[in-house]
Amino acid sequence: MFKMYIYFIASFGLFLIGLYAVLSKKNLIKVILGLSLMETGVNLFLISLGYVNGGTAPIFERALSPSKMVDPVPQALVLTSIVIGVSVTALALSLCVKLHEKTGTLDLTKIRSLKW
């Protein structure tokens, strides 16, 4: 039981640290770093939900008789989620580079061209 609490605290800690970076940092690259940390935290939480005490990896082998296996459905979800996370990070970073080319700064408080 205590083992589960460690994983929940770790994943929620990562999520909240990433949320703090998105809410209150001025550098645009730090905001994208926080977004990536939030995605890592959510993936860790999803895998830790499918863990069974004393289970093994969900792969069949010729010489092994099937014992308890962990849940394979969250693993399939997280596989998709990690790849989508890295593609979103790549697109956001190339948008940052283009923004720096047009306005010359990466400070969020100075990019205000849409302010009424």
Partner: protein, 227 residues
């Protein structure tokens, strides 16, 4: 001011999570996991249960994921379409780096290909092998003085792989009236030529993802026009 407000939001969330934390570790609804574990070898012939879920039971979601990766590669290529200069590093790579990158590049490609060919037997699959191939291309860039990838060959091969994935889906409609159905013979379990269309689709996905990620890397590392 912004920091104090964000700290208040985070403290509220911590209190809310602490309230709901004991309820998370009691609820174990595991029924569909048991169904997939029992029916994995009978229905698909793949001994890796996660692979049979990703490509056979929920194959349409994999099509969506391949589309999202394609959109990201398209966006990065469109944003950096004005740069035409080659990659010229400021500090020239040393002799050891130049020689070893050329020697190790085919070994990296072979390792990545091994991982996505055996995706239905051992842990691995198309996405893992594809990103290893992209790391191999990055390694080749880091050890060269002046490099340009053969552009049109990569784009044609990637589009052909995408068409191949959808083509196999339509071949499933021709064979048995269901899109992306597992229509090829299942073979003997635990061997290489088993599990129907799963190795074929993983080879196609491995080539496609590897080429897309290496195109993203090549676009980000190119030189600038008016420097």
């Amino acid at each position: 001011m912004k920091k104090i407000l964000s700290l208040i939001v985070i403290l509220t969330l911590i209190v809310a999570i602490w309230h709901f934390l004991p309820a998370l570790s009691k609820n174990k609804a595991f029924k569909i996991g048991h169904f997939y574990i029992e029916h994995a070898i009978k229905d698909t012939g793949a001994s890796n249960v996660v692979t049979s879920i990703v490509l056979n039971f929920r194959g349409f979601d994999t099509l969506g994921e391949v589309t999202v990766l394609f959109l990201a590669s398209l966006g990065v290529g469109f944003l950096f379409s004005g740069n035409t200069k080659n990659y010229k590093p400021e500090i020239q790579p040393s002799l050891i780096l130049r020689v070893s990158s050329r020697l190790l590049f085919p070994l990296f490609i072979m390792f990545g290909a091994y991982i996505f060919i055996h995706g239905h037997l051992t842990p691995g699959g198309g996405f893992q092998g594809g990103s290893i191939i992209a790391s191999a291309v990055l390694f080749l860039y880091l050890g060269s003085k002046d490099k340009k990838l053969p552009g049109h060959f990569i784009e044609y091969l990637e589009s052909l792989s995408g068409l191949g994935f959808i083509g196999i889906g339509f071949a499933g409609i021709l064979a048995s009236n269901i899109f992306l159905n597992n229509f090829m013979p299942k073979g003997i379990v635990y061997t290489l030529f088993s599990a129907g269309i799963i190795p074929v689709i993983y080879i196609i996905i491995g080539i496609k993802v590897g080429l897309e990620l290496s195109k993203i890397v090549a676009d980000l590392i190119k030189g600038e026009e008016n420097v």
